[in-house]
Symmetry: C2
DNA sequence: ATTGGAATGTTATAATATATCACTATGAAC
DNA sequence: GTTCATAGTGATATATTATAACATTCCAAT
């Protein structure tokens, strides 16, 4: 859980390592830009906008245009290495890329920290209601805003 | 439930009537523009973007600029007469404005119909997970995408 | 060597949203 | 009745987020 203090260097290392391995296995190309964007996202437990990413890339010497950031982000999201937080129009590295999952997010409105969690929604009230309505859920955006334990 | 066939004229009438009453009671001004925007939203069980609204307003003779639409939408959202669907960056009239609620949405990716539902999330897995993490949820965005009964 | 695909570079523009200031109406305070 | 404060609207400009379209590079397979 990203709200708790933890060995954050390991978050980054683990994230990059996992992506590297997965891409190797699946024949995907974790190109320098894609890897760098993933690292940037992993650096903070906070969602970054595409233009934040662009700015940071530019500090690295990549003077890239918007499509570059969006492409890298698309790739990462597509393959489950990152997620888009719709409420923020921003992106965050996946913190549990090992497991197939339907992530939900807890967003602190004070410090902007974002934690990825995995409640079993389909079994809960949402899934039941949808089922009753004859609606087939393919994907769910679940984003809770509030105050994290550190900001209370 | 907006997926089922129903007397839709009544949806519109009820929505406007409720807003009128509420505003009367609370000393709020349901101005012509605000009422018209609400009507436009009520016309379809589909989310409309601010610029869709602007276009429709313009067909009515109001040659308005973006802030006009956003202000009216802000008002409606603020007072619970409409909701923003984050996943779509668009707005939809509330279908059950009588009750205090934390709405969730079912979004059909085929016909774009949106249904507002009210699962008891706080009692479910999400609420539990948040509580365990010491996170206080103030608001939750819950938006499921999939296929509605009519499009199956 | 040629071809084809995937990734990136580059330019332009679309789509969504807000800041700011000017103007108007309304109603309360004096 | 005039003054004043407030809420709403009008209007201009600009910020922020996102994509379309086409050119170029690189590498591997034929
Ligand atoms: Zn960490
Ligand atoms: Zn916090
Ligand atoms: Zn209806
Ligand atoms: Zn449908």
């Amino acid at each position: 859980m990203s709200f708790q203090s933890h060995n954050h260097r390991q978050c980054i290392k683990r994230g990059v390592q996992h992506a590297t391995d997965q891409c190797e296995k699946a024949g995907l190309q974790l190109t320098p830009i894609r890897q760098r964007v993933l690292e940037l996202l992993l650096t903070e437990h906070r969602a970054l906008g595409a233009y934040d990413i662009l700015e940071k890339l530019s500090e690295d010497g990549w003077k890239s245009q918007p499509p570059v950031a969006y492409r890298a982000l698309d790739f990462l999201v597509q393959h489950g290495f990152a997620h888009k937080v719709e409420r923020l129009n921003a992106f965050i590295a996946c913190t549990t890329p090992e497991t197939n999952h339907n992530p939900a997010f807890l967003i602190c409105r004070i410090c902007e920290a974002v934690a990825e969690i995995h409640p079993q929604l389909s079994r809960g009230a949402l899934g039941r209601t949808a089922k009753d309505a004859g609606f087939v859920i393919e994907q769910a955006v679940v984003e809770a805003e509030g105050v994290c334990p550190n900001c209370r």
